[in-house]
């Protein structure tokens, strides 16, 4: 029962993160929302695997926790490349 309450709370936060992604005035707000969504997904997968009682599904949370980082580092490299080659900052 507690697992259900926790997963509803995480789902509501995911809704708020998507709201920030759609609304956010600058680009970095959306990247922040995407990264936050990813971490909440890893938490949700862990809690829901306890809710459904199937412990094999923890592998998915582990895979997701590892893969979440690559997207934000790619954004940093993209921005660095643009600043270096002088194309100017990412406008909105």
């Amino acid at each position: 029962m507690f697992y259900a309450v926790v997963s509803i709370a995480i789902l509501m936060t995911m809704v708020l993160a998507v709201a920030r992604a759609v609304k956010g005035p600058s680009i970095y707000d959306r990247v922040l929302a995407a990264n936050m969504f990813g971490t909440k997904t890893a938490l949700l997968l862990a809690v829901v695997s306890f809710l459904f009682g199937r412990m094999d599904f923890l592998d998915l949370a582990l895979a997701y926790a590892l893969i979440n980082l690559v997207g934000v580092l790619a954004v940093l490299e993209f921005v660095e490349g643009r600043i270096e080659s002088g194309k100017g900052k990412l406008d909105d």
Binding site: A21, A33, F37, L60, L62, I67, V70
Partner: protein
Amino acid sequence: MTIVFALFLLTLLVVTALAIVRTKNLFIATMLLSIFSLLMAVNFFILDAADVALTEAAVGAGVTTVIFLSALRLTSQYERGSLASSRWIAVIVVVTTTVLLISGTINTPNLGDPNAPVHQHVAPFYLENTEALMGFPNVVTAVLSSFRGYDTLGEVFVVFIAAVGVMFILDARQGTGPEYELRVEKGLKHHLIPRAVGGLLIPFMLLFGLYVQFHGEYGPGGGFQAGAIVATAFILHAILEGERTALKAFSRNAQMALIIGGSTLYGAVGVVCMLKGGTFLDYSVLMEDPVTARQVGIIIIELGVGMAVCGALLSIFHSFAARKPVAQAK
């Protein structure tokens, strides 16, 4: 409980899809696509499809986002507007097709209904006989690698063709001229924190990829997921250290060799089965005990699938990332 989850997730899916279509800035669309992909992964998870959820999370939120960002480097940030005259025709065609498709699904059985006709013939055979014929519990891996092995062979060839197609379009041969120079860049070498954390994470990602590869018979996993995770580890290395160092560690020829080796390994298992007296891809003739023989056959072809997927994803990433953008108009 599942209904509550589905309500939240499907609403978020529609909202994200509308936001992706409405934005004109491709960078924003890429970030929203990453969120979309994660929503699909959680949807699959709620529907109890763990293998598909793992593949969607590994490929969609990790590799695809990075490949889109590498492609965005080469082009402009905004999409060109479409012609205004053909918009109403497009809307009418889309709405008509949607109405026809939805009206076609009115009389089909409910999702997951166990009495639907499609679940009466082949599916009970797989569910009842997997433990007896194969000796391991994961029915998805049994169906994918052994009962429907031909289809998976076709999928590996499709992955091969996709990688070769991308290399043709992006002209990945060695040559002279401004667009063939490797772009001079340092990766993230001056940032200490990502390099330190990445150095800790990459060995664990590789180890986890190998675990998922060989554990695919007992839990969610298999060749496709493992290939995507190992490719993500190498892509993280390429982002942190720069293209030059990454291509010295794992050259383009080695990536191509992985794709070719993986596909050939899969086909070779089939040919060996034929030489030993069975039909193509009938693993039970490989050893004396048919159950053990099927397990050995499945391990070898999953290895082939993992190699092919890893090589293909890395080839596609490096085709985009190694290319220097020629001076373009904004």
